[in-house]
């Protein structure tokens, strides 16, 4: 088959046409995602420095002292290693699994370097205790769930089962819950404002509709930073709101409107409102205008007509809007960072801290992965709810 005849087949031609897209997706979406995921679950510290040990100890049954081959592999790894810092990492890691490793490893490394085939139990009798070998085995795998567990404030205890971290050691889970709660609050506020707004926008026509939609869309065309900064100016102690309230004498002290949860929710609601209004609006404009008239003529009080007709028909838009807003909310960083207090920071700021301040890429990736999983789960819910619009009642 010649090349030209191969290209003539529609399947191949289509593939060539979308190839740039696939390459782009692979390069800028799939690959970073895979990197993040693998970063979040990989822990090469021990397996890189002790590769032979890691391979040999993998199928050790944990009973008694490991076979001489395993011990020999361990010694060989120690002799082969030239990176003192990496060995330091290994020691620290093992020590956090089983205390005592710090002194044990120091002793063992210098002894083995002198006499490569020395009997380990002679160096230190602790090597006759399986617990220490068990710690090596636990840490030997290049993969770990430690980061994922840590991002939920959990760890494996000495027996290897999952347990909550000691209170006060980590706040990741608290911040994650706070993120979900803040997002839920923002979603609710967007719904409370957005649903009636979309209904009004869909029921008027001409310039009124244009103005209403323009008012929602305008924020979308403005930089997020600008909008957040604008809220800072409006909400601060000597901002417009406090000044006018004090001016008319309602309050004597400025209200604290910023650097707290209120400011965060307010600004995020403002920023995310379009994502609630637009889906609801787009569903509502497809609803024939006289359904509400029909309901009234059939004896439905306006409230009942709304509950039985307009609300169920707008539900699909409400679900899309709520999920869009919620998904966007849980990843918010700038707005809580600028308008919130220390107790209002969301999970993204933790990711930023890990990646920028402490360069702990594994933790940053692990929390990012948790966020990704959350979003995917919500997306699955969304897909399920929006699959059959007609049955959405």
């Amino acid at each position: 088959m010649t090349a030209s005849s191969r290209f003539r087949s529609p399947g191949v031609r289509a593939l060539i046409l979308i190839a740039p897209l696939l390459v782009f997706l692979g390069l800028f979406f799939v690959w970073p995602l895979v990197t993040v995921i693998s970063q979040a679950v990989s822990d090469p510290a021990v397996s890189r420095v002790l590769p032979q040990t890691a391979a040999a100890i993998d199928d050790w049954d944990g009973e008694g002292v490991p076979a001489p081959e395993i011990q020999a592999a361990f010694r060989a790894d120690i002799v082969a290693n030239t990176d003192e810092q990496a060995m330091g990492d290994v020691t620290r890691r093992l020590n956090s699994s089983k205390s005592g490793f710090r002194s044990l490893m120091g002793k063992t490394v210098s002894a083995v370097r002198e006499t490569p085939d020395i009997d380990l139990a002679e160096v230190d009798k602790r090597w006759a205790d399986p617990v220490f070998w068990k710690a090596i085995q636990d840490n030997a795998s290049p993969y770990t769930d430690a980061f994922l567990l840590a991002s939920l404030d959990m760890e494996r205890d000495s027996s290897g089962s999952v347990a909550a971290m000691k209170e006060g050691t980590s706040a990741n889970f608290t911040i994650l819950m706070r993120t979900l709660w803040t997002s839920a609050l923002v979603t609710l506020c967007c719904l409370v404002i957005g649903l009636p707004y979309a209904m009004i926008a869909a029921s008027v026509s001409g310039w009124k509709r244009a103005v209403l939609l323009g008012a929602v869309l305008l924020p979308l065309w403005t930089s997020l930073l600008v909008r957040t900064a604008a809220w800072m100016i409006i909400l601060q102690d000597n901002g417009i709101i406090n000044q006018s309230l004090m001016g008319i004498g309602v309050i004597s002290e400025p209200l604290v409107l910023i650097y707290n949860r209120f400011g965060v929710v307010l600004a995020m609601t403002h920023v995310l409102l379009p994502f609630m209004v637009l889906p609801i609006y787009s569903v509502l404009i497809t609803v024939p205008g006289n359904l509400m008239s029909a309901a009234a003529s059939l004896g439905a009080h306006p409230v009942r007509a709304f509950l039985r007709v307009l609300l169920p028909l707008s539900l699909r838009g409400v679900i899309s809007g709520a999920l869009l807003v919620f998904m966007a909310s849980i990843g918010y960083y700038i707005t809580p960072a600028l308008l919130g207090g220390a107790a209002d920071q969301m999970i993204s700021s933790v990711i930023a801290d890990y990646s920028i301040k402490s360069a702990n890429w594994s933790m940053a990736a692990a929390i990012g992965l948790i966020l990704l999983v959350l979003t995917l789960a919500l997306y699955a819910v969304y897909n399920r709810l929006s699959r059959d619009p007609v049955q959405a009642r």
Binding site: V287, P288, N290, L291, S293, A294, A295, A296, S297, L298, G299, A300, H301, P302, R304, A305, R308, V309, P312, L313, V390, A392, R393
Partner: protein, 356 residues
């Protein structure tokens, strides 16, 4: 049967500065089938919307069963409305749609089910009760809308061009169905249409609309045979209009002198006096064509200029001294060639004189 079940008294509707219904009076009896017929934009829908309560009344009063209902909210009016676009609730099944008005009235569950079934059977859709409206054809949707508007036995049924979106065959079937329901259930129906055949077929009375005013409100026969003005005569059916001067009035027969000097005897509106200008409306099918003029009928000679074969009749265009006249002849009569000299005639009771 109580007269004046529904009364429109000097009803006016303004949209901004535009007056779309003006000082309109109309009385409708219980059990009557009244069609509102008129060209598009003449205010028919507006009147119906005011009656249903979807539009406010700018002036005058609407009285239902002795009660002024201008300010009564729609959901308390107890009127079944059938919309041109059906306005079925897309998220409810056919049965749910039909049950809706009953549920709004707090009807007991068991009774709802049986009445829904009965209403759907009435429109021959009992077997489709679990479908969604989107899964039905236009005609089926229209029948669901009809069942929904009738199931709660409303005081009045309002229909706004309900058959406009259906094809001809279905439309004629539905016309007969609706008329049949009207007779069986004794419904009071107000039916908006711009289709004169539909109005003639279905109605007890036709209210002919133009520019927000009723031009004539009478039985189909009356509206067709005895139009009250030029608009009605021209809007309903086809007619020949000949202008002349009334020269004598004796009883219900008028003498009308045409510009050429021909004098016709014809029936006409009351109130003409000798010397008034008059307009003779002559329906094409009321004209006969003779080889020689018989006694006692109005005669006019002319020349055939066009003949159109239309299946059940011939349409013949005749050029006369009084102008061009169109006649519609049973095709069993001789076929008239172009250029033939003919005498056409009509009886006094077949003509109708109106004001020009």
């Amino acid at each position: 049967m109580s007269e004046n079940f529904i009364r429109f008294q000097k009803v006016t509707k303004d949209y901004g500065t535009v007056r779309v219904v003006e000082d309109l009076d109309l009385d409708i009896a219980r059990g009557e089938f009244v069609s509102l017929l008129g060209p598009s934009g003449s205010g028919k829908t507006t009147l119906l919307m005011m009656l249903a309560g979807f539009e406010s009344v700018s002036g005058g009063a609407i009285v239902l069963d002795g009660q002024k209902i201008n300010d009564l909210p729609t959901h308390k009016r107890d009127m079944g409305v059938v919309f041109q676009n059906y306005a079925l609730f897309p998220h409810m099944t056919v049965a749910k749609n039909v049950a809706f008005p009953l549920e709004m009235r707090g009807t007991a569950k068991a009774e709802v089910a049986s009445r829904v079934q009965k209403a759907l059977d009435m429109v021959q859709l009992g077997h489709l009760s679990d479908r969604l409206p989107g899964q039905l054809s236009g005609g089926q949707q229209q029948r669901v809308a009809l069942a929904r508007a009738l199931v709660f036995e409303p005081r009045v049924v309002l229909m706004d061009e309900p058959l406009g979106a259906l094809d001809k065959q279905l439309r004629e079937q539905m016309q007969l169905d609706i008329r049949d329901l009207h007779h069986r259930l004794g419904l009071t129906i107000i039916f908006v249409t711009h289709d004169q055949d539909e109005a003639l077929t279905m109605s007890d009375r036709i209210a002919v609309f133009n520019h927000g005013q009723i031009q004539q409100c009478a039985s189909p026969r009356e509206v067709y045979d005895h139009p009250s003005n030029r608009f009605v005569a021209e809007f309903i059916g086809e007619t020949n209009l000949l202008e002349g001067t009334v020269s004598a009035v004796s009883g219900e027969t008028l003498s009308l002198t045409l510009p050429g000097g021909t004098v016709f005897q014809s029936h006409g509106l009351a109130g003409f006096r000798p010397g008034d200008k008059g307009l003779l409306s002559l329906r094409p099918e009321r004209i006969d064509i003779y080889a020689t003029a018989p006694e006692g009928v109005n005669c006019l000679t002319g020349e055939v200029t066009d003949t159109v074969y239309q299946g059940d009749h011939l349409r013949i265009v005749i050029e006369t001294a009084a102008g061009r006249i169109i006649a519609r002849i049973n095709r069993k009569a001789a076929e008239w060639a172009n250029g033939a000299k003919v005498t056409l005639g009509f009886r006094a009771q077949d003509g109708w004189v109106i004001a020009p």
